[in-house]
Subunit: 249 residues, 2 copies
Amino acid sequence: MPSQPGLSPIDVQRLKTACSTCSLRELCLPAGLDQRGLEQVDRLVNRRRPIRRGDYLYRSGAGLDSLYAIRTGFMKSCVLHEDGREQVAGFHMMGDLMGLDAISSSRHMCDAVALEDSEVCEIPLAALEQLSHDIPSLQQHFHRIMSREIVRDYGVMLLLGTMRAEERLAAFLLNLSQRFAARGYSSTEFHLRMTREEIGSYLGLKLETISRALSRFHEENLIEVRNKHVKIIDMEALRGLIGQPSGAS
Amino acid sequence: MPSQPGLSPIDVQRLKTACSTCSLRELCLPAGLDQRGLEQVDRLVNRRRPIRRGDYLYRSGAGLDSLYAIRTGFMKSCVLHEDGREQVAGFHMMGDLMGLDAISSSRHMCDAVALEDSEVCEIPLAALEQLSHDIPSLQQHFHRIMSREIVRDYGVMLLLGTMRAEERLAAFLLNLSQRFAARGYSSTEFHLRMTREEIGSYLGLKLETISRALSRFHEENLIEVRNKHVKIIDMEALRGLIGQPSGAS
DNA sequence: CGTTGCGTTGAATAAGGTCAAATAGAGTGG
DNA sequence: CCACTCTATTTGACCTTATTCAACGCAACG
Protein backbone atom coordinates (compact mmCIF):
# COMPACT_ATOMS: atom_id res chain seq x y z
CA MET A 1 0.00 0.00 0.00
CA PRO A 2 1.54 3.37 -1.01
CA SER A 3 1.77 5.82 1.84
CA GLN A 4 -0.47 8.81 1.42
CA PRO A 5 1.30 12.13 0.95
CA GLY A 6 0.26 14.82 3.38
CA LEU A 7 -0.02 12.55 6.38
CA SER A 8 2.61 12.77 9.07
CA PRO A 9 4.13 9.52 10.34
CA ILE A 10 1.94 9.79 13.40
CA ASP A 11 -1.17 10.03 11.26
CA VAL A 12 -0.07 7.04 9.28
CA GLN A 13 0.41 5.12 12.48
CA ARG A 14 -3.00 6.21 13.62
CA LEU A 15 -4.57 5.24 10.33
CA LYS A 16 -2.90 1.87 10.39
CA THR A 17 -4.42 1.06 13.73
CA ALA A 18 -7.80 2.69 13.33
CA CYS A 19 -10.94 0.58 13.49
CA SER A 20 -12.07 2.08 10.20
CA THR A 21 -9.14 0.55 8.37
CA CYS A 22 -8.85 -2.58 10.48
CA SER A 23 -9.45 -5.73 8.51
CA LEU A 24 -11.22 -7.19 11.51
CA ARG A 25 -13.85 -4.53 11.84
CA GLU A 26 -16.67 -6.76 10.63
CA LEU A 27 -15.75 -9.45 13.16
CA CYS A 28 -15.09 -7.13 16.01
CA LEU A 29 -16.95 -4.72 18.22
CA PRO A 30 -17.71 -2.07 15.58
CA ALA A 31 -19.34 -4.51 13.17
CA GLY A 32 -22.19 -2.94 11.30
CA LEU A 33 -21.48 0.66 12.28
CA ASP A 34 -21.45 3.49 9.77
CA GLN A 35 -18.44 5.71 9.17
CA ARG A 36 -19.35 8.10 11.95
CA GLY A 37 -19.90 5.27 14.41
CA LEU A 38 -16.59 3.74 13.44
CA GLU A 39 -14.77 6.96 14.19
CA GLN A 40 -16.45 7.22 17.57
CA VAL A 41 -15.55 3.69 18.51
CA ASP A 42 -12.07 4.42 17.31
CA ARG A 43 -11.76 7.30 19.74
CA LEU A 44 -12.86 4.93 22.48
CA VAL A 45 -9.90 2.65 22.07
CA ASN A 46 -7.33 4.44 24.08
CA ARG A 47 -4.33 2.42 23.14
CA ARG A 48 -3.09 -0.63 21.42
CA ARG A 49 -1.20 -2.72 23.87
CA PRO A 50 1.34 -5.35 22.87
CA ILE A 51 1.45 -8.53 24.95
CA ARG A 52 4.32 -10.89 24.74
CA ARG A 53 3.93 -14.63 24.62
CA GLY A 54 3.42 -15.99 28.10
CA ASP A 55 2.39 -12.64 29.57
CA TYR A 56 -0.93 -12.05 31.27
CA LEU A 57 -3.39 -9.62 29.79
CA TYR A 58 -5.20 -9.76 33.11
CA ARG A 59 -5.40 -12.03 36.10
CA SER A 60 -8.29 -13.47 38.00
CA GLY A 61 -9.27 -11.10 40.79
CA ALA A 62 -7.89 -7.97 39.15
CA GLY A 63 -10.23 -5.04 38.83
CA LEU A 64 -12.01 -4.47 35.57
CA ASP A 65 -10.75 -1.47 33.66
CA SER A 66 -11.34 -2.36 30.10
CA LEU A 67 -12.46 -4.95 27.66
CA TYR A 68 -9.91 -6.07 25.11
CA ALA A 69 -10.31 -6.77 21.43
CA ILE A 70 -7.61 -8.97 20.01
CA ARG A 71 -5.93 -7.32 17.06
CA THR A 72 -3.24 -9.87 16.38
CA GLY A 73 -2.13 -13.00 18.13
CA PHE A 74 -3.69 -15.75 20.15
CA MET A 75 -4.75 -16.02 23.77
CA LYS A 76 -6.34 -18.38 26.25
CA SER A 77 -8.53 -17.73 29.24
CA CYS A 78 -8.27 -19.99 32.29
CA VAL A 79 -10.65 -20.44 35.17
CA LEU A 80 -8.96 -21.26 38.46
CA HIS A 81 -10.20 -23.31 41.36
CA GLU A 82 -8.94 -22.73 44.90
CA ASP A 83 -7.35 -26.17 45.02
CA GLY A 84 -5.08 -25.22 42.13
CA ARG A 85 -6.91 -26.95 39.36
CA GLU A 86 -7.34 -24.90 36.26
CA GLN A 87 -9.56 -25.17 33.24
CA VAL A 88 -8.95 -23.47 29.92
CA ALA A 89 -12.29 -21.83 29.24
CA GLY A 90 -11.50 -20.62 25.75
CA PHE A 91 -8.99 -19.81 23.06
CA HIS A 92 -9.23 -16.39 21.51
CA MET A 93 -8.01 -14.97 18.24
CA MET A 94 -8.15 -11.78 16.22
CA GLY A 95 -11.45 -9.96 16.48
CA ASP A 96 -12.49 -11.70 19.69
CA LEU A 97 -13.53 -9.56 22.62
CA MET A 98 -12.14 -10.54 26.01
CA GLY A 99 -12.99 -9.57 29.54
CA LEU A 100 -16.78 -9.98 29.43
CA ASP A 101 -16.64 -12.18 32.52
CA ALA A 102 -15.46 -9.22 34.59
CA ILE A 103 -18.52 -7.05 34.07
CA SER A 104 -20.60 -8.95 36.59
CA SER A 105 -18.51 -8.12 39.62
CA SER A 106 -16.01 -5.57 38.26
CA ARG A 107 -13.31 -8.18 38.84
CA HIS A 108 -11.85 -10.55 36.35
CA MET A 109 -12.97 -14.10 36.98
CA CYS A 110 -10.28 -15.75 34.88
CA ASP A 111 -6.72 -15.33 33.70
CA ALA A 112 -5.97 -14.22 30.17
CA VAL A 113 -2.61 -15.35 28.82
CA ALA A 114 -1.00 -14.71 25.45
CA LEU A 115 -0.05 -17.91 23.64
CA GLU A 116 1.96 -15.92 21.12
CA ASP A 117 3.06 -12.32 20.84
CA SER A 118 -0.18 -10.42 20.50
CA GLU A 119 -1.67 -6.99 20.31
CA VAL A 120 -4.94 -5.95 21.87
CA CYS A 121 -7.12 -2.87 21.66
CA GLU A 122 -8.08 -1.64 25.08
CA ILE A 123 -11.68 -0.49 25.39
CA PRO A 124 -12.67 1.22 28.65
CA LEU A 125 -15.99 -0.26 29.70
CA ALA A 126 -17.45 2.96 31.07
CA ALA A 127 -16.77 4.75 27.80
CA LEU A 128 -18.19 1.85 25.84
CA GLU A 129 -21.40 1.95 27.86
CA GLN A 130 -21.56 5.69 27.37
CA LEU A 131 -21.08 5.42 23.64
CA SER A 132 -23.52 2.57 23.24
CA HIS A 133 -26.01 4.88 24.85
CA ASP A 134 -25.50 7.26 21.94
CA ILE A 135 -25.37 4.61 19.22
CA PRO A 136 -28.21 2.12 19.58
CA SER A 137 -26.78 -0.22 16.98
CA LEU A 138 -23.56 -0.43 19.01
CA GLN A 139 -25.55 -1.30 22.10
CA GLN A 140 -27.37 -4.02 20.23
CA HIS A 141 -24.18 -5.39 18.80
CA PHE A 142 -22.54 -5.43 22.19
CA HIS A 143 -25.47 -7.40 23.57
CA ARG A 144 -25.14 -9.80 20.68
CA ILE A 145 -21.47 -10.30 21.41
CA MET A 146 -22.18 -11.14 25.04
CA SER A 147 -24.98 -13.46 24.02
CA ARG A 148 -22.71 -15.13 21.47
CA GLU A 149 -20.28 -15.89 24.25
CA ILE A 150 -23.08 -17.51 26.23
CA VAL A 151 -24.01 -19.64 23.23
CA ARG A 152 -20.38 -20.61 22.74
CA ASP A 153 -20.23 -21.66 26.38
CA TYR A 154 -23.32 -23.83 25.94
CA GLY A 155 -21.56 -25.51 23.05
CA VAL A 156 -18.56 -26.24 25.25
CA MET A 157 -20.86 -27.70 27.91
CA LEU A 158 -22.41 -29.98 25.30
CA LEU A 159 -18.95 -31.05 24.26
CA LEU A 160 -17.73 -31.66 27.80
CA GLY A 161 -20.95 -33.25 28.94
CA THR A 162 -21.78 -35.60 26.11
CA MET A 163 -18.84 -36.27 23.77
CA ARG A 164 -16.13 -38.90 23.87
CA ALA A 165 -12.48 -38.02 23.56
CA GLU A 166 -12.16 -38.30 19.79
CA GLU A 167 -15.39 -36.46 19.20
CA ARG A 168 -14.20 -33.63 21.38
CA LEU A 169 -10.94 -33.33 19.54
CA ALA A 170 -12.63 -33.48 16.15
CA ALA A 171 -15.06 -30.77 17.23
CA PHE A 172 -12.14 -28.71 18.48
CA LEU A 173 -10.21 -28.96 15.22
CA LEU A 174 -13.28 -28.16 13.15
CA ASN A 175 -14.02 -25.17 15.33
CA LEU A 176 -10.51 -23.81 14.89
CA SER A 177 -10.72 -24.46 11.18
CA GLN A 178 -13.94 -22.48 10.89
CA ARG A 179 -12.63 -19.57 12.88
CA PHE A 180 -9.44 -19.36 10.85
CA ALA A 181 -11.50 -19.47 7.67
CA ALA A 182 -13.73 -16.63 8.93
CA ARG A 183 -10.56 -14.54 9.29
CA GLY A 184 -9.27 -15.25 5.84
CA TYR A 185 -6.77 -17.95 6.74
CA SER A 186 -6.64 -21.51 5.51
CA SER A 187 -9.34 -23.72 6.93
CA THR A 188 -7.28 -26.84 6.33
CA GLU A 189 -3.80 -25.97 7.48
CA PHE A 190 -2.81 -24.09 10.59
CA HIS A 191 -0.56 -23.94 13.59
CA LEU A 192 -1.83 -24.88 16.99
CA ARG A 193 -0.70 -22.11 19.26
CA MET A 194 -1.42 -24.09 22.41
CA THR A 195 0.23 -27.14 23.95
CA ARG A 196 -1.37 -30.58 24.12
CA GLU A 197 -1.92 -29.96 27.77
CA GLU A 198 -3.87 -26.78 27.07
CA ILE A 199 -5.99 -28.54 24.48
CA GLY A 200 -6.59 -31.27 27.03
CA SER A 201 -7.59 -28.81 29.68
CA TYR A 202 -10.05 -27.13 27.35
CA LEU A 203 -11.54 -30.47 26.31
CA GLY A 204 -11.60 -32.00 29.76
CA LEU A 205 -8.98 -34.60 28.83
CA LYS A 206 -5.38 -35.37 29.71
CA LEU A 207 -2.55 -34.41 27.42
CA GLU A 208 -1.72 -38.06 26.72
CA THR A 209 -5.25 -38.60 25.49
CA ILE A 210 -4.90 -35.65 23.13
CA SER A 211 -1.61 -36.96 21.85
CA ARG A 212 -3.03 -40.43 21.25
CA ALA A 213 -6.14 -39.13 19.54
CA LEU A 214 -4.08 -36.91 17.25
CA SER A 215 -1.87 -39.88 16.37
CA ARG A 216 -4.97 -41.94 15.68
CA PHE A 217 -6.43 -39.29 13.38
CA HIS A 218 -3.09 -39.19 11.61
CA GLU A 219 -2.98 -43.00 11.19
CA GLU A 220 -6.48 -42.94 9.76
CA ASN A 221 -5.52 -40.20 7.31
CA LEU A 222 -7.96 -37.67 8.65
CA ILE A 223 -5.21 -35.17 9.38
CA GLU A 224 -1.48 -34.66 9.21
CA VAL A 225 0.21 -33.52 12.40
CA ARG A 226 3.76 -32.50 12.87
CA ASN A 227 4.33 -30.81 16.20
CA LYS A 228 1.97 -27.88 16.22
CA HIS A 229 1.35 -27.87 12.52
CA VAL A 230 -1.94 -29.45 11.53
CA LYS A 231 -3.32 -30.15 8.09
CA ILE A 232 -6.85 -31.41 7.75
CA ILE A 233 -6.99 -34.08 5.05
CA ASP A 234 -10.53 -35.32 5.35
CA MET A 235 -12.81 -32.66 6.74
CA GLU A 236 -15.94 -34.70 6.06
CA ALA A 237 -14.71 -37.73 7.94
CA LEU A 238 -13.80 -35.48 10.82
CA ARG A 239 -17.32 -34.09 10.82
CA GLY A 240 -18.68 -37.60 10.61
CA LEU A 241 -16.79 -38.58 13.72
CA ILE A 242 -18.96 -36.31 15.79
CA GLY A 243 -22.13 -38.02 16.83
CA GLN A 244 -20.89 -41.57 16.36
CA PRO A 245 -21.49 -43.69 19.49
CA SER A 246 -18.18 -45.50 19.18
CA GLY A 247 -16.62 -48.00 16.79
CA ALA A 248 -17.46 -46.20 13.57
CA SER A 249 -14.35 -47.01 11.55
CA MET B 1 -50.92 -8.02 54.45
CA PRO B 2 -54.28 -6.18 54.68
CA SER B 3 -55.76 -5.34 51.29
CA GLN B 4 -55.88 -1.64 50.59
CA PRO B 5 -59.36 -0.16 50.35
CA GLY B 6 -60.05 1.85 47.22
CA LEU B 7 -58.26 -0.47 44.84
CA SER B 8 -60.32 -2.44 42.37
CA PRO B 9 -59.67 -6.18 42.03
CA ILE B 10 -57.72 -5.49 38.86
CA ASP B 11 -55.50 -3.01 40.66
CA VAL B 12 -54.92 -5.52 43.41
CA GLN B 13 -53.97 -8.08 40.84
CA ARG B 14 -51.67 -5.58 39.21
CA LEU B 15 -50.11 -4.70 42.53
CA LYS B 16 -49.61 -8.29 43.45
CA THR B 17 -47.64 -8.91 40.33
CA ALA B 18 -45.82 -5.62 40.09
CA CYS B 19 -42.01 -5.55 40.22
CA SER B 20 -42.19 -2.95 42.94
CA THR B 21 -43.88 -5.36 45.33
CA CYS B 22 -42.19 -8.51 44.08
CA SER B 23 -40.05 -10.15 46.70
CA LEU B 24 -37.57 -11.08 44.02
CA ARG B 25 -36.86 -7.57 42.85
CA GLU B 26 -33.39 -7.44 44.31
CA LEU B 27 -32.42 -10.69 42.62
CA CYS B 28 -34.06 -9.93 39.33
CA LEU B 29 -33.72 -7.52 36.47
CA PRO B 30 -34.80 -4.36 38.32
CA ALA B 31 -32.25 -4.79 41.13
CA GLY B 32 -30.93 -1.46 42.32
CA LEU B 33 -33.47 0.72 40.57
CA ASP B 34 -35.30 3.55 42.30
CA GLN B 35 -39.08 3.76 42.55
CA ARG B 36 -39.45 5.49 39.21
CA GLY B 37 -37.22 2.95 37.51
CA LEU B 38 -39.16 0.13 39.08
CA GLU B 39 -42.40 1.45 37.70
CA GLN B 40 -40.92 1.80 34.26
CA VAL B 41 -39.59 -1.75 34.27
CA ASP B 42 -42.96 -2.81 35.51
CA ARG B 43 -44.65 -1.32 32.50
CA LEU B 44 -42.21 -3.23 30.34
CA VAL B 45 -43.37 -6.61 31.51
CA ASN B 46 -46.35 -7.10 29.33
CA ARG B 47 -47.76 -10.17 30.98
CA ARG B 48 -47.18 -12.88 33.49
CA ARG B 49 -47.35 -16.18 31.76
CA PRO B 50 -48.06 -19.44 33.57
CA ILE B 51 -46.20 -22.52 32.33
CA ARG B 52 -47.25 -25.96 33.32
CA ARG B 53 -44.86 -28.66 34.33
CA GLY B 54 -43.40 -30.29 31.24
CA ASP B 55 -44.33 -27.42 28.93
CA TYR B 56 -41.80 -25.51 26.90
CA LEU B 57 -41.26 -21.84 27.56
CA TYR B 58 -39.45 -21.72 24.22
CA ARG B 59 -37.78 -24.14 21.88
CA SER B 60 -34.45 -24.13 20.16
CA GLY B 61 -34.77 -22.38 16.82
CA ALA B 62 -37.79 -20.29 17.75
CA GLY B 63 -37.52 -16.57 17.14
CA LEU B 64 -36.64 -14.32 20.01
CA ASP B 65 -39.51 -12.20 21.24
CA SER B 66 -38.79 -11.71 24.87
CA LEU B 67 -36.59 -12.54 27.76
CA TYR B 68 -38.25 -14.23 30.70
CA ALA B 69 -37.80 -13.67 34.40
CA ILE B 70 -38.91 -16.58 36.52
CA ARG B 71 -41.42 -15.51 39.10
CA THR B 72 -42.25 -18.86 40.60
CA GLY B 73 -41.27 -22.39 39.71
CA PHE B 74 -38.30 -24.18 38.35
CA MET B 75 -36.99 -24.67 34.81
CA LYS B 76 -34.18 -26.24 32.87
CA SER B 77 -32.50 -25.23 29.65
CA CYS B 78 -31.23 -27.90 27.27
CA VAL B 79 -28.81 -27.62 24.41
CA LEU B 80 -29.47 -30.01 21.56
CA HIS B 81 -27.08 -31.63 19.15
CA GLU B 82 -28.20 -32.73 15.67
CA ASP B 83 -27.57 -36.37 16.53
CA GLY B 84 -30.19 -36.21 19.26
CA ARG B 85 -27.89 -35.87 22.23
CA GLU B 86 -28.93 -33.27 24.70
CA GLN B 87 -27.20 -31.50 27.51
CA VAL B 88 -28.89 -29.69 30.35
CA ALA B 89 -27.11 -26.34 30.36
CA GLY B 90 -28.70 -24.99 33.50
CA PHE B 91 -31.43 -25.12 36.10
CA HIS B 92 -33.28 -21.91 36.75
CA MET B 93 -35.33 -20.68 39.66
CA MET B 94 -37.16 -17.57 40.84
CA GLY B 95 -35.44 -14.35 39.89
CA ASP B 96 -33.36 -15.91 37.12
CA LEU B 97 -33.49 -14.36 33.69
CA MET B 98 -33.83 -16.73 30.75
CA GLY B 99 -33.40 -16.34 27.03
CA LEU B 100 -30.08 -14.51 26.95
CA ASP B 101 -28.71 -17.07 24.50
CA ALA B 102 -31.19 -15.90 21.89
CA ILE B 103 -29.94 -12.34 21.61
CA SER B 104 -26.95 -13.29 19.48
CA SER B 105 -28.93 -14.53 16.51
CA SER B 106 -32.51 -13.59 17.39
CA ARG B 107 -33.22 -17.30 17.68
CA HIS B 108 -33.29 -19.40 20.79
CA MET B 109 -30.32 -21.73 20.96
CA CYS B 110 -31.76 -24.05 23.57
CA ASP B 111 -35.02 -25.43 24.89
CA ALA B 112 -36.52 -24.12 28.10
CA VAL B 113 -38.75 -26.58 29.93
CA ALA B 114 -40.68 -26.15 33.17
CA LEU B 115 -39.81 -28.78 35.78
CA GLU B 116 -42.77 -27.74 37.87
CA ASP B 117 -45.72 -25.43 37.35
CA SER B 118 -44.15 -22.01 36.97
CA GLU B 119 -44.88 -18.43 36.21
CA VAL B 120 -42.64 -16.15 34.19
CA CYS B 121 -42.59 -12.44 33.47
CA GLU B 122 -42.24 -11.75 29.79
CA ILE B 123 -39.91 -8.89 28.94
CA PRO B 124 -39.81 -7.79 25.30
CA LEU B 125 -36.16 -7.34 24.39
CA ALA B 126 -36.68 -4.31 22.16
CA ALA B 127 -38.49 -2.47 24.93
CA LEU B 128 -35.84 -3.47 27.42
CA GLU B 129 -33.11 -2.10 25.20
CA GLN B 130 -35.11 1.07 24.75
CA LEU B 131 -35.64 1.50 28.46
CA SER B 132 -32.06 0.71 29.36
CA HIS B 133 -31.19 3.54 27.04
CA ASP B 134 -33.15 5.85 29.32
CA ILE B 135 -31.98 4.35 32.61
CA PRO B 136 -28.21 3.88 32.65
CA SER B 137 -28.27 1.85 35.84
CA LEU B 138 -30.65 -0.59 34.18
CA GLN B 139 -28.29 -0.91 31.24
CA GLN B 140 -25.41 -1.61 33.58
CA HIS B 141 -27.37 -4.12 35.54
CA PHE B 142 -28.44 -5.91 32.40
CA HIS B 143 -24.82 -6.14 31.34
CA ARG B 144 -23.96 -7.54 34.73
CA ILE B 145 -26.63 -10.17 34.42
CA MET B 146 -25.31 -11.31 31.06
CA SER B 147 -21.78 -11.33 32.42
CA ARG B 148 -22.89 -13.29 35.45
CA GLU B 149 -24.27 -15.94 33.13
CA ILE B 150 -20.89 -16.12 31.40
CA VAL B 151 -19.16 -16.55 34.75
CA ARG B 152 -21.63 -19.25 35.73
CA ASP B 153 -20.90 -21.04 32.49
CA TYR B 154 -17.17 -20.91 33.20
CA GLY B 155 -17.88 -22.55 36.53
CA VAL B 156 -19.77 -25.33 34.81
CA MET B 157 -16.87 -25.83 32.42
CA LEU B 158 -14.51 -26.14 35.37
CA LEU B 159 -16.82 -28.69 36.90
CA LEU B 160 -17.23 -30.70 33.72
CA GLY B 161 -13.60 -30.45 32.75
CA THR B 162 -11.80 -31.16 36.00
CA MET B 163 -14.02 -32.78 38.62
CA ARG B 164 -14.76 -36.40 39.37
CA ALA B 165 -18.30 -37.67 39.76
CA GLU B 166 -18.69 -37.16 43.50
CA GLU B 167 -17.10 -33.75 43.39
CA ARG B 168 -19.51 -32.70 40.67
CA LEU B 169 -22.50 -33.85 42.63
CA ALA B 170 -21.27 -32.18 45.82
CA ALA B 171 -20.72 -28.94 43.92
CA PHE B 172 -24.19 -29.25 42.45
CA LEU B 173 -25.88 -29.75 45.81
CA LEU B 174 -23.95 -26.88 47.37
CA ASN B 175 -24.86 -24.63 44.49
CA LEU B 176 -28.55 -25.44 44.85
CA SER B 177 -28.29 -24.92 48.59
CA GLN B 178 -26.78 -21.47 48.12
CA ARG B 179 -29.35 -20.41 45.60
CA PHE B 180 -32.24 -21.53 47.76
CA ALA B 181 -30.71 -19.67 50.70
CA ALA B 182 -30.38 -16.50 48.63
CA ARG B 183 -34.13 -16.72 48.01
CA GLY B 184 -35.04 -17.16 51.63
CA TYR B 185 -35.53 -20.91 51.61
CA SER B 186 -33.74 -23.51 53.65
CA SER B 187 -30.17 -24.07 52.61
CA THR B 188 -30.15 -27.55 54.11
CA GLU B 189 -33.41 -29.11 53.07
CA PHE B 190 -35.05 -28.94 49.68
CA HIS B 191 -36.76 -30.82 46.92
CA LEU B 192 -34.94 -31.69 43.76
CA ARG B 193 -37.24 -30.67 40.98
CA MET B 194 -35.32 -32.61 38.38
CA THR B 195 -34.84 -36.32 37.76
CA ARG B 196 -31.57 -38.17 38.30
CA GLU B 197 -31.19 -38.26 34.56
CA GLU B 198 -31.42 -34.48 34.32
CA ILE B 199 -28.89 -34.03 37.09
CA GLY B 200 -26.67 -36.48 35.24
CA SER B 201 -27.04 -34.62 31.98
CA TYR B 202 -26.13 -31.35 33.65
CA LEU B 203 -23.10 -32.89 35.35
CA GLY B 204 -21.92 -34.91 32.38
CA LEU B 205 -22.70 -38.21 34.10
CA LYS B 206 -25.17 -41.06 33.72
CA LEU B 207 -28.21 -41.34 35.93
CA GLU B 208 -26.89 -44.51 37.57
CA THR B 209 -23.78 -42.65 38.61
CA ILE B 210 -25.89 -39.94 40.21
CA SER B 211 -27.96 -42.50 42.02
CA ARG B 212 -24.89 -44.32 43.31
CA ALA B 213 -23.18 -41.12 44.42
CA LEU B 214 -26.29 -39.97 46.27
CA SER B 215 -26.49 -43.33 48.01
CA ARG B 216 -22.83 -43.06 48.94
CA PHE B 217 -23.31 -39.57 50.40
CA HIS B 218 -26.23 -40.96 52.35
CA GLU B 219 -24.20 -43.91 53.66
CA GLU B 220 -21.47 -41.55 54.75
CA ASN B 221 -24.00 -39.34 56.54
CA LEU B 222 -23.31 -36.30 54.44
CA ILE B 223 -26.91 -36.05 53.33
CA GLU B 224 -30.29 -37.71 53.68
CA VAL B 225 -32.08 -38.55 50.46
CA ARG B 226 -35.52 -39.88 50.02
CA ASN B 227 -36.69 -39.67 46.43
CA LYS B 228 -36.41 -36.02 45.53
CA HIS B 229 -36.18 -34.76 49.05
CA VAL B 230 -32.66 -33.89 50.13
CA LYS B 231 -31.40 -32.83 53.51
CA ILE B 232 -27.82 -31.76 53.88
CA ILE B 233 -26.40 -33.13 57.13
CA ASP B 234 -22.77 -32.20 56.85
CA MET B 235 -22.28 -29.13 54.68
CA GLU B 236 -18.62 -28.82 55.59
CA ALA B 237 -17.78 -32.37 54.63
CA LEU B 238 -19.58 -31.82 51.36
CA ARG B 239 -17.48 -28.74 50.73
CA GLY B 240 -14.39 -30.68 51.69
CA LEU B 241 -15.17 -33.28 49.08
CA ILE B 242 -14.50 -30.78 46.34
CA GLY B 243 -10.86 -30.61 45.52
CA GLN B 244 -9.92 -33.99 46.94
CA PRO B 245 -8.02 -36.13 44.44
CA SER B 246 -9.72 -39.35 45.45
CA GLY B 247 -9.73 -41.59 48.51
CA ALA B 248 -10.31 -38.91 51.13
CA SER B 249 -12.54 -40.80 53.51
C1' DC C 1 -54.37 -54.02 40.00
C1' DG C 2 -51.62 -53.65 36.01
C1' DT C 3 -48.99 -50.10 33.85
C1' DT C 4 -45.60 -46.74 33.57
C1' DG C 5 -41.90 -43.87 34.86
C1' DC C 6 -38.29 -43.22 38.09
C1' DG C 7 -34.82 -44.92 41.04
C1' DT C 8 -31.56 -48.36 43.02
C1' DT C 9 -28.20 -51.85 42.81
C1' DG C 10 -24.93 -55.40 40.92
C1' DA C 11 -21.63 -57.31 37.54
C1' DA C 12 -19.05 -56.85 33.52
C1' DT C 13 -16.80 -53.66 30.36
C1' DA C 14 -14.67 -49.86 28.14
C1' DA C 15 -12.78 -45.34 28.07
C1' DG C 16 -9.57 -42.48 29.91
C1' DG C 17 -6.29 -41.65 33.46
C1' DT C 18 -1.83 -42.60 35.69
C1' DC C 19 2.84 -43.74 35.73
C1' DA C 20 7.04 -44.32 33.47
C1' DA C 21 10.44 -44.16 29.89
C1' DA C 22 12.14 -42.59 25.53
C1' DT C 23 12.44 -38.93 22.10
C1' DA C 24 12.24 -34.65 19.90
C1' DG C 25 12.44 -29.72 19.57
C1' DA C 26 13.30 -24.99 20.98
C1' DG C 27 15.97 -21.92 23.26
C1' DT C 28 20.47 -20.62 25.51
C1' DG C 29 25.11 -19.69 26.56
C1' DG C 30 29.68 -20.64 25.19
C1' DC D 1 27.74 -23.49 15.27
C1' DC D 2 27.55 -26.81 19.01
C1' DA D 3 26.55 -28.76 23.34
C1' DC D 4 23.37 -28.48 26.91
C1' DT D 5 18.82 -27.85 29.09
C1' DC D 6 14.38 -27.70 29.56
C1' DT D 7 9.98 -28.49 28.04
C1' DA D 8 6.76 -30.71 25.12
C1' DT D 9 5.38 -34.88 23.07
C1' DT D 10 4.84 -39.71 22.13
C1' DT D 11 4.06 -44.34 23.41
C1' DG D 12 3.43 -48.51 26.32
C1' DA D 13 1.60 -51.01 30.38
C1' DC D 14 -1.48 -50.97 33.85
C1' DC D 15 -5.26 -49.15 36.73
C1' DT D 16 -9.41 -46.48 38.06
C1' DT D 17 -13.58 -44.60 37.17
C1' DA D 18 -17.65 -44.26 35.22
C1' DT D 19 -20.63 -46.56 31.73
C1' DT D 20 -23.35 -50.23 30.10
C1' DC D 21 -26.51 -53.78 30.63
C1' DA D 22 -29.74 -55.95 33.34
C1' DA D 23 -32.80 -56.93 37.09
C1' DC D 24 -35.66 -55.32 40.49
C1' DG D 25 -38.34 -52.08 43.72
C1' DC D 26 -41.41 -48.42 44.45
C1' DA D 27 -44.99 -45.06 43.95
C1' DA D 28 -48.38 -42.64 41.30
C1' DC D 29 -52.17 -43.19 38.42
C1' DG D 30 -55.69 -44.77 35.46
